[in-house]
């Protein structure tokens, strides 16, 4: 069981999706239940795995099967494997994905056009998300990473809002551009890396764990650390790191590469927005921590100030944009940009607490942003209008709803007691300690970043005041009767999310015990390897 856990998580949704292609259109409604069943099975599998997972055990649940082995004559052997596993980086993110995907299915219950197609795409997306988070072979990772784009494109393009065509194409082109950058580096890496082989032939593998070890590089290959090749001011490995960073920063998204995000969010249907914000953005952060940083540690150290600055710019610029947004969903989309900036800042600090904070932020933002987008969805379902100015005094009509809005907003602005607070505090601690611990970031970055908290409080409180308090009034074509309070299904989605945000805010150790061993190893290895590689050019 333990050995097939990840495969089960990946392939159960795929098999269900295949079933979706076969079952007749009449039975489309029962397909919702099949999707729900898949999500519940995944959740149970995950809960079952908690007792088996050893927080200090490094990479676990490893599965390794030969996939592609091509003998290319004198050049060597090309080898890709079905190689998956989980560690402190991926395990919490898998948990988050499984949890959020279940809620997404519940939230998708209201979808009534092309039901079969919708849930099939959702299941394919589900499988590729789990696959991306667990793949340890770079080709396998790339397969899942790319395969996420297509379902996402159609989910936005078919079930989206008025400008869905523009938004979906923009989403697809941006992320494909990012993945092309990743592809360039991937090809360079597998050409430069070999695996020991007794037969004497060079085995070029896509194994990401091998790529992290400088001794696996073929001497004088393009990305070999000893290769002195330069293009402009950077050497090959620095370029490779920059390309990877660019690729994942588009996904994250970091300013100034974030412009696809607000459009995609605004046009996507609520459940798709939830997946996008809560899970897909995390793959950007995950890719940096899994691929870019460990494989090119010296480049990561070299660019840490640059990454820190991009992070801070995202924090501040995202928050300012959120403040200026007139559409509630756009506001939340920009707040995501702002919050994902903390992930960059935490990773750039390369301190244990900073990295822990960055990963904590990924999970925390996953929970909170899911809640925020569901909250927008509640309003949109009722009135089909999200303009902030059109509402005021909603608290008098929708009491329970306002309660959840308060929880979500406060959690998102980082109020103590919620998960966002822990994450941001850890990131700040890391960013403040970095100048003295490893001299990578400047103190001013942490100081400017704290202003993001102030802006965050400003736009949330201002929105609360405008929309929910004061005398009740609606404008536009919204009828007061439309504004009914939460339904049972909505409670079912919002309560677990609110509890999770609260729980991880009060008992951070629940999550930190998984993340911290990873963060410790991550920073130690990167700093050690990075220094060694920088000193011996």
């Amino acid at each position: 069981m333990q050995h097939y856990l990840i495969s089960l998580l990946i392939f159960i949704p795929l098999v269900a999706a295949l079933a979706g292609l076969i079952i007749p259109a009449r039975a489309a409604n029962s397909f919702r239940y099949l999707t729900l069943a898949v999500n519940i099975v995944q959740l149970f599998l995950f809960i079952f795995s908690v007792s088996l997972y050893a927080p200090d055990g490094g990479m676990q649940f490893i599965e390794k099967q030969p996939w592609i082995t091509l003998d290319l004559g004198s050049w060597g052997v090309l080898k890709a494997e079905y190689f998956v596993g989980m560690d402190g980086l991926s395990y919490p993110l898998i948990g988050l994905s499984v949890f959020v995907l279940l809620l997404t299915t519940i939230s998708s219950w209201t979808i009534d056009t092309s039901v079969k197609g919708y849930f099939t795409l959702l299941l394919v997306l589900n499988a590729s998300i789990i696959g991306s988070f667990t793949a340890l072979d770079m080709l396998l990772f790339y397969l899942f990473f790319e395969f996420m784009l297509l379902p996402m494109f159609f989910l936005i393009a078919i079930w989206g809002g008025a400008r869905r065509e523009y938004a979906s194409i923009k989403f697809f082109l941006y992320t494909l551009l990012g993945s092309v950058f990743i592809l360039i580096v991937m090809i360079g890496l597998y050409i430069s890396v070999h695996e020991g082989n007794p037969a004497g032939q060079l085995v070029h593998s896509f194994n990401m764990l091998n790529m992290q070890d400088p001794s696996h590089f073929i001497s004088n290959a393009v990305l070999d650390p000893n290769n002195s090749w330069q293009l402009g001011v950077f050497n090959a490995r620095q370029w490779a790191f920059l390309l990877l960073f660019l690729g994942f920063a588009i996904k994250l998204p970091a300013a100034p590469l974030h412009t696809w995000l607000p459009d995609a969010h605004v046009e996507a249907p609520t459940p798709v927005s939830v997946i996008l914000a809560a899970i897909l953005l995390k793959i950007g952060g995950y890719g940096l921590a899994r691929i870019a940083f460990p494989i090119f540690p010296e480049a990561a150290m070299y660019f840490s100030t640059f990454i820190g600055i991009i992070g801070v710019v995202s924090i501040v610029y995202g928050a300012l944009n959120a403040m200026a947004s007139k559409d509630l969903k756009r506001l939340i989309a920009y707040s995501s940009v702002s919050h994902m900036g903390f992930v960059l800042l935490g990773l750039a600090s390369l301190t244990q607490e900073g990295v822990t904070g960055a990963l904590y932020q990924m999970v925390s933002h996953g929970i909170i942003s899911a809640m925020l987008f569901l909250i927008v969805g509640v309003l949109y379902d009722r009135t089909h209008n999200r303009t902030i100015d059109f509402y005021s005094g909603l608290s008098s009509r929708m009491k329970a709803y306002t309660g959840f809005v308060l929880v979500a907003f406060f959690a998102s602005m980082g109020l103590p007691g919620f998960s966002g607070f822990i994450a941001e505090v850890l990131v700040f601690l890391g960013a403040f300690r970095a100048p003295s611990a490893n001299g990578l970031l400047h103190e001013s970055l942490a100081i400017i970043a704290t202003s993001g908290l102030v802006f965050g409080a400003a736009y949330y409180l201002w929105t609360l005041q405008r929309m929910f308090f004061g005398p009740f009034n609606v404008k536009g074509r919204i009828l007061p009767e439309q504004l009914t309070d939460l339904t049972r299904r909505e409670y079912l989605m919002l309560i677990p999310l609110g509890l999770a945000a609260f729980c991880f805010g009060i008992f951070p150790q629940l999550l930190i015990r998984y993340i911290d061993p990873f963060a410790k190893g991550f920073t130690e290895i990167i700093l050690a390897a990075g220094k060694a590689l920088t000193l011996t050019p």
């Binding site: 091509l70 050049w75 360039i184 050409i191 430069s192 293009l231």
Partner: protein, 486 residues
């Protein structure tokens, strides 16, 4: 060896080609007597099928490179594999024609021409002599001019005429180049040592002019920039099976001989043909992809796509390495499958009157499976996983990276970067048809029948395209055994 004996012996080795030649005669004779469409389809399918099977047999017993007809042509496993691709392209073209519901005129002549092009393509990749090369190329070209007009309407005539005018000029320029090369070396056998020595002694400007003129003919055949402007008009006018045929068979043959020819030219050492071909590659990719962005007609879109795909095939050639040629064969095989999948369904939709991209609105609802198969084809052309199109692109780009780390020529890196960025551009237009099919609302919804012959063939092609992503070894295992000898 006695020269008569040699010719007899050579003729045996050319059995598949003799088969094709007799097929042409048979079709013309039968066409004079009977007027039964099914019969012609059957004969054409049988002839291409036997030619394919024969090559396959030859492949499976393995074959040493053999020089035939006193050094005019040469077989070898590289050539046999190309011939396999070409024959398979022929078979699929016949099936596509069979499945077409458009009124078809002059079928015997049509098939005779198709077989002639296949024969020409076989001879082209085998040729060792400039004269043979030219004859084979003209056999392909002249038959293609006529095939391009086979829709018998105004745009077909226009396309055909443009093709003819452009093609004649290209041929004239090429043969001028050949004559110069012949004058320099005193031999027509361009793979011979005398030829290499002959061109090595010549002054650079003369050599450059002669070889660039000669290359013009090849580049024209493979639709590489700047010799590409005929493509969109020809594709727009020609019937769909012919378009699919054009985008695979003459192109693969042209690339096959280009690999050979450029290797010989490059033996002179200077100028650097890698550089020249690299520039052509970048130009082809860019012209093809960017022009495709503005197209409204599906066939014109596919024409530019085919130019762009030539660019990707050039990427494999431009690496100038043994691996590069193997990857070229892999790319070409995959490209064959994808092209026929896409054109099969474009024809299927053309049959119901869908010719512009806007016409595809809502077809995803009424024709679910055809639209999904078309989507797979488009994704594969873009080169996204999980299709063999991705694997093929991965291979050709890794050979560039590899070539770069061996030679250190930064041009290769630029080709790599341009090629990959072009993938992003390509996605934009490749996705437009599926986009219209699935996202735009339907105008009307005719009843669909999923269990058609077209869907059976489509499903097989889709299966192969997916299979070669997950198990590229099935094909690469074969290709690996091939040694490229010019």
């Amino acid at each position: 060896m006695d020269s008569l004996e040699s010719i007899r012996w050579s003729a045996v080795a050319l059995a598949p080609d003799l088969m094709l030649a007799s097929g042409i005669l048979l079709l013309i004779i039968v066409g004079l007597i009977w007027r039964n469409a099914g019969l012609f389809h059957g004969i054409a399918l049988a002839v291409t099928g036997i030619a394919f099977a024969w090559e396959l047999l030859r492949w499976s017993v393995g074959n040493e490179p053999a020089v035939l007809f006193n050094g005019v042509i040469k077989t070898g496993d590289f050539v046999v594999f190309l011939n396999l691709i070409i024959s398979l392209g022929g078979i699929l073209t016949v099936i596509m024609t069979w499945l077409s519901t458009r009124p078809q005129q002059r079928l015997p002549e049509y098939y005779a021409l198709i077989l002639a092009v296949i024969l020409g393509a076989h001879l082209l990749v085998m040729s060792e002599s400039l004269l043979m090369l030219f004859i084979a190329l003209e056999l392909i070209s002249i038959c293609s001019y006529v095939l391009a007009a086979f829709a018998f309407d105004k745009s077909a005539t226009e396309g055909s005429l443009k093709y003819f005018v452009f093609g004649s000029v290209a041929s004239a320029v090429m043969i001028y180049g050949f004559s110069l090369l012949y004058g320099m070396s005193g031999t027509l056998t361009f793979t011979s040592i005398e030829f290499v020595q002959g061109i090595a002694e010549q002054p650079l400007p003369l050599f450059l002019a002669a070889s660039l003129f000669s290359l013009a003919g090849f580049l024209y055949k493979v639709a590489a920039a700047p010799m590409h402007p005929w493509v969109p008009d020809v594709y727009e006018g020609a019937p769909m099976p012919v378009v699919a045929f054009f985008s695979v068979v003459p192109k693969v043959a042209g690339f096959g001989i280009l690999c050979k020819f450029i290797t010989i030219l490059n033996m002179r050492g200077f100028p650097d043909w890698q550089l020249i071909l690299g520039v052509v590659t970048i130009a082809t990719l860019t012209v093809g992809n960017f022009s495709a962005l503005w197209q409204k007609n599906v066939k014109r879109l596919m024409a530019y796509s085919s130019i762009a795909q030539s660019g990707f095939l050039l990427v494999a050639v431009v690496a100038f390495s043994a691996n590069g040629y193997q990857y070229f064969l892999f790319y070409a095989s995959v490209y064959l499958l994808i092209t026929f999948l896409v054109f099969l369904y474009l024809q299927e939709f053309e049959n119901i009157g869908v010719t512009t991209i806007a016409d595809y609105s809502g077809t995803g609802k009424s024709f679910l499976w055809p639209a999904i198969f078309l989507l797979v084809g488009m994704i594969a052309l873009t080169g996204l996983p999980p299709t063999a199109g991705f694997t093929a692109k991965l291979f050709v780009f890794s050979t560039l990276w590899d070539g770069y780390s061996v030679t250190g020529k930064s041009l290769l890196l630029w080709v790599l970067v341009f090629g990959l960025l072009n993938t992003v551009v390509a996605l934009f237009y490749y996705l437009r048809i599926p986009y219209f099919a699935f996202v735009r609302p339907a105008t009307d919804a005719p009843a669909e029948n999923n269990f058609t012959k077209t869907n059976l063939l489509g499903a097989i092609l889709v299966f192969l395209i997916l299979l070669l992503f997950f198990k590229p070894g099935l094909l690469m295992g074969w290709i690996n055994k091939i040694n490229f000898v010019p």
